[in-house]
């Protein structure tokens, strides 16, 4: 039988889930085509807020990568908006003119953000909050670190406000109603939430209506009804969504608030289904994924020819995804004659809990500040349990039922099997426990992969971990030293210790003696082992280049197009006309497309073909350059300022000391990269106080700093101590570097190592214990005998020739 044609309009979360179910239920029934107005694959829209705040990358929130469509033979038209449905001919047409015919059609166009039509709503700088493009635009706007106004104090608005603030903007939330999130929270909880946001520096204006947005071409401010003007360069409107129904409407389908569908998700045309925010089922439209995923499941059944499934309304609990704010609400919490409520407040702890009862049954709950019992209340509500027995203790939570207080673990243990743990995906306790037991899952990632629990908005992660602890007992220890990688159960610390204790001197010896579970390791453990062995046995160990990352193997940095960049050392950031001329000649000769001054005070030549590398190095070598090791987990740059040579404030020769340090330490391998700087006075023009190791010259000598960070984390340095001469400074810095080399875990920067070992321990070994310091220093010097070989000149003279040439070039055959 030939396949039927299924066309899907919209590629959001609802149809994505529908197709997963359908491919399971009836893998061969349909030839599937999707049109998506957004130019991308299916991603977790819920997680846009963590992308905005910088806690996640777009790549991390993709649900179906390109490969998924290929593997399932699905044609995905990205960036194709469907503009017409012809129900007679059973075809759809995209704005680019692509026409596809269908046997079954699914409309999943989601919603559109509502834009309040105030004057100025169309100025540049007014954004909505719906898709990745909005987030990218907000991130760009936030670079100005300027002022932003978010209109709307609901879930989306507050997440946008928190994200923009995390990006450094000064944010004001303007909300029409008297309290925040009034649809999910009662006024008391709304008040606590407002207080929390204000204490974080977000301004909140409630009962405030926007009169107009000000500006000529771009936003400059916003005026409220009462005449108040708020300056800002960005306005985000998050005032609600409207189901996107125009396409269905034009096709003559029945529309009310959304596209009307029956409990099997069929529209008024039986060949057309609709799922997601655009659909109206049993009289309701929805804006949270849990009910949309239920629609998806039912639509998949209907498409597979099984009409037995029906959509039934369910309340969905709401949580706000702003780190550090715990709130939970479910059901109906309006006051009323026929209702009772129980309230608990703890002003000091900022806790508020309210449970709403009708006929001795829970119909709603609002929790702020402490939400652990949310799942329990929700469960009692769903089952309509009569609570009269436990009425007195109900508000204290599950822990207090049955006499003694329970710890959180016992509370999780006491949850019934069908208690919902993950609201987004509708996963209950028994499904998680079942998967852990049947599939032998031991990590959170595995549980996510197999059950989808905690894989959408992530707010139930704590509960899932408790369930894992409960199910696995001692086998689950989230705080345990993590194993290096799946090839071994040992952590980095154990491996380093055992390499020394057992005198293991080759990678195969380590793997054999420490019972590696794979035959030849993986891309995580091999580079780590190679470093540990290089560090521990500098004279005996033969560096294993096949265990090094490509950059360290070919001594250049791989670029996104497969070409390389080359950064020669410029000692302490000093250069000369001769050096610059040599660089200019190399750039011309090899037609190097880009030359850039790096953040590390030297010059980067980018876009060099791999085959050209040895010749480039040969020319640079002739001019006296050596590799800058800009690729190495090893010594990178030593930045300096002009110091006493030129500067009117310079107290010591900072340039000279920087050059000495770089010449002494270049070539050394370290657990992670190691960057130094020397500043000539506390004005600190070389930025020494955010480096791995930094020196601030002062009148009386040298202040040695360490454990700073200015990359993924930002952290000022700690002071190691003061010394009075240049030689002492060098000796202390080198000893510190060696201590780190011997103890650091692979890829652990010095500030992380220091936090693990303790600052006092490091000070006492390096500053106070002269003998210890001397030993470290001597071991560093010994290892430099083997490390200080310029890798470029080695390769110019033929080492690893095979790396740089193809082994064969086949002739293209002439056409016959």
């Amino acid at each position: 039988m030939s396949k039927q044609k299924l066309v899907v309009i919209g590629n959001g979360m609802a149809p994505g889930r529908m197709l997963e179910h359908l491919l399971e239920l009836a893998p061969d029934q349909y030839e599937i085509t999707i049109f998506n107005a957004e130019p991308r694959v299916n991603y977790d829209r819920i997680m846009l807020s963590p992308v905005l705040s910088g806690e996640k990358d777009y790549e991390e929130i993709i649900i179906h990568g390109d490969g998924w469509y290929i593997n399932n033979n699905i044609t995905l038209y990205k960036g194709h908006k469907v503009v017409d449905i012809d129900r007679e001919a059973q075809t759809v047409t995209s704005e680019h003119g692509v026409v596809e015919s269908y046997d079954k059609l699914v409309i999943a166009t989601g919603s559109n953000p509502f834009i309040i039509p105030v004057p100025g709503h169309d100025l540049a700088g007014v954004l909505s909050y719906r898709d990745l493009d909005d987030v990218t635009a907000m991130m760009l706007a936030a670079q100005a670190r300027d002022k932003a106004v978010v209109i709307g104090g609901g879930l989306l608005g507050l997440e946008a406000a928190a994200g923009l603030q995390a990006r450094g903007m000064d944010v004001t939330v303007v909300h029409l109603m008297p309290t925040l999130m009034e649809r999910q929270l009662d006024p008391s909880a709304g008040y606590l939430l407002q207080r929390e946001l204000e204490s974080r520096g977000i301004k909140v204006k409630t009962s405030a209506n926007t009169k107009q947005i000000l500006g000529d071409k771009k936003v400059t401010g916003l005026e409220l009804d009462d005449g108040e003007i708020i300056d800002c360069s960005l306005v985000v409107m998050a005032v609600g969504i409207r189901p996107s129904t125009w396409l269905a409407d034009n096709a003559g389908l029945e529309i009310e608030r959304g596209i009307k569908v029956d409990p099997q998700m069929r529209t008024s045309d039986p060949n057309i289904l609709s799922v997601g925010e655009c659909a109206q089922v049993v009289g309701q439209v929805y804006g949270l994924v849990a009910p949309l995923y239920e629609m998806a499941r039912i639509a998949a059944h209907t498409l597979s020819g099984d009409d037995s499934q029906e959509f039934v309304h369910l309340d969905t609990a709401t949580k706000l995804k702003v780190t550090g704010i715990d709130l939970f609400s479910v059901g109906d919490f309006a006051e009323g004659e026929d209702r009772d409520e129980i309230v608990l407040r703890d002003a000091n702890a900022g806790i508020y809990k309210r449970v709403i009862l009708k006929d001795e049954k829970i119909i709603g709950a609002v929790l702020y500040g402490e939400t652990a019992d949310g799942a329990w209340y929700n469960d009692l509500k769903k089952k309509a349990t009569d609570i009269s027995e436990m009425r007195d203790t109900l508000i204290f939570g599950q822990a207090y039922q049955g006499g003694a207080a329970m710890d959180p673990m016992a509370a999780v243990a006491a949850l019934p099997d069908d208690a919902e743990i993950c609201g987004c995906n509708g996963i209950c306790k028994s499904q998680i426990v079942g998967a852990i037991n049947e599939k032998g899952l031991t990590s959170l990632d595995e549980v996510r992969a197999h059950t989808k629990a905690s894989a959408s908005c992530g707010t139930c992660t704590g509960l899932v971990e408790q369930l894992m602890a409960l199910t696995l007992g001692d086998d689950f220890d989230p705080d345990a030293e993590k194993s290096m990688c799946p090839c071994t159960d040992l952590g980095h610390g154990d491996v380093r210790r055992l390499i020394k204790a057992k005198s293991l001197k080759t990678i195969p010896a380590v793997m054999q003696e420490l019972e590696w579970k794979t035959s030849c390791g993986c891309a995580k453990c091999r580079p780590a082992l190679n470093y540990y062995l290089v560090c521990d046995w500098p004279d005996e160990y033969a560096d294993d280049y096949q265990s090094r990352f490509i950059n360290e193997r070919v001594h250049a940095n791989i670029q996104k197009d497969g070409t390389y960049s080359v950064v020669p050392r410029m000692w302490g950031g000093m250069t000369s006309s001769k050096e610059l001329r040599a660089i200019a000649d190399v750039v011309d000769k090899f037609e190097i497309p880009s030359v850039k001054v790096t953040g590390g005070q030297r010059i980067d030549m980018l876009g060099i073909k791999k085959e050209d590398l040895p010749a480039v190095w040969a020319d640079l070598g002739k001019a006296g350059f050596v590799s800058g090791q800009a690729y190495a987990k090893g010594l990178r740059t030593v930045k300096t300022c002009v110091g006493s040579d030129w500067c009117r404030f310079g107290t010591q020769d900072s340039t000279g000391l920087g050059i000495k340090l770089e010449k002494f330490m270049w070539g050394s391998w370290t657990p992670a990269k190691l960057k130094l700087a020397v500043s000539g006075c506390p004005r600190n023009c070389a930025e020494a106080t955010c480096k791995d190791i930094g020196i601030i010259c002062v009148d009386s000598g040298y202040e040695i700093h360490f454990a700073g960070a200015a990359g993924l984390d930002i952290k000022g340095t700690e002071i190691l101590g003061n010394v009075s001469t240049e030689n002492e400074a060098l000796e202390h810095v080198v000893a510190l570097a060696q201590m780190y080399r011997e103890q650091g875990f692979y890829l652990e920067r010095i500030y992380k190592w220091a936090a693990r070992i303790g600052l006092d321990e490091i000070r006492s070994q390096i500053m106070d214990n002269e003998e210890r310091r001397q030993e470290y220093f001597d071991r560093f010097v010994f290892s430099q005998k083997f490390a200080q070989v310029d890798p470029w000149s080695e390769r110019v003279s033929g080492k690893d020739k095979h790396e740089f040439k193809p082994m064969a070039a086949l002739q293209l055959e002439a056409a016959e």
């Binding site: 490969g67 891309a523 096949q546 090094r548 095979h802 064969a808």
Partner: protein
């Protein structure tokens, strides 16, 4: 030698010796725009894959080779040398080719490449 493999032989081309490729490493063979990476594992198995990661076309020949897989140097996808499939949660595949080892020589099938 059977008639069938004789016939095939006409399209086989010698690309070099097995010793040209380092263990747990790779070398490239070029044919016009096409680059094929020849991998050699720790156990001396040989594989040929197009030198393009299914993720963003990273040069797989530059990756770390381990347990029948190579880890792409650009963003660490792990690709099976045998099937070309991305491992774990990533999805996608790289084209694979047949390499024949005969008397320590490596042979590719030209017909497969065209």
């Amino acid at each position: 030698m059977s008639a069938v493999s004789m016939a095939l032989d006409s399209s086989l081309v010698d690309i070099g010796s097995i010793h040209d490729v380092p263990q747990r490493g790779a070398r490239c063979v070029k044919k016009g725009e096409l680059t094929i990476a020849i991998f050699r594992t720790a156990e001396d198995q040989f594989f040929a894959l197009e030198d393009k990661c299914p993720h963003k076309n990273g040069p797989l020949s530059q990756g770390i080779v381990h347990d029948g897989c190579v880890t792409c140097p650009l963003h660490n996808w792990v690709i099976s040398l045998k099937t070309g499939q991305a491992q774990g949660a990533d999805e996608g595949a790289t084209k694979t080719y047949t390499v024949i080892v005969r008397d320590e020589r490596l042979l590719l099938d030209l017909e497969e490449l065209s």
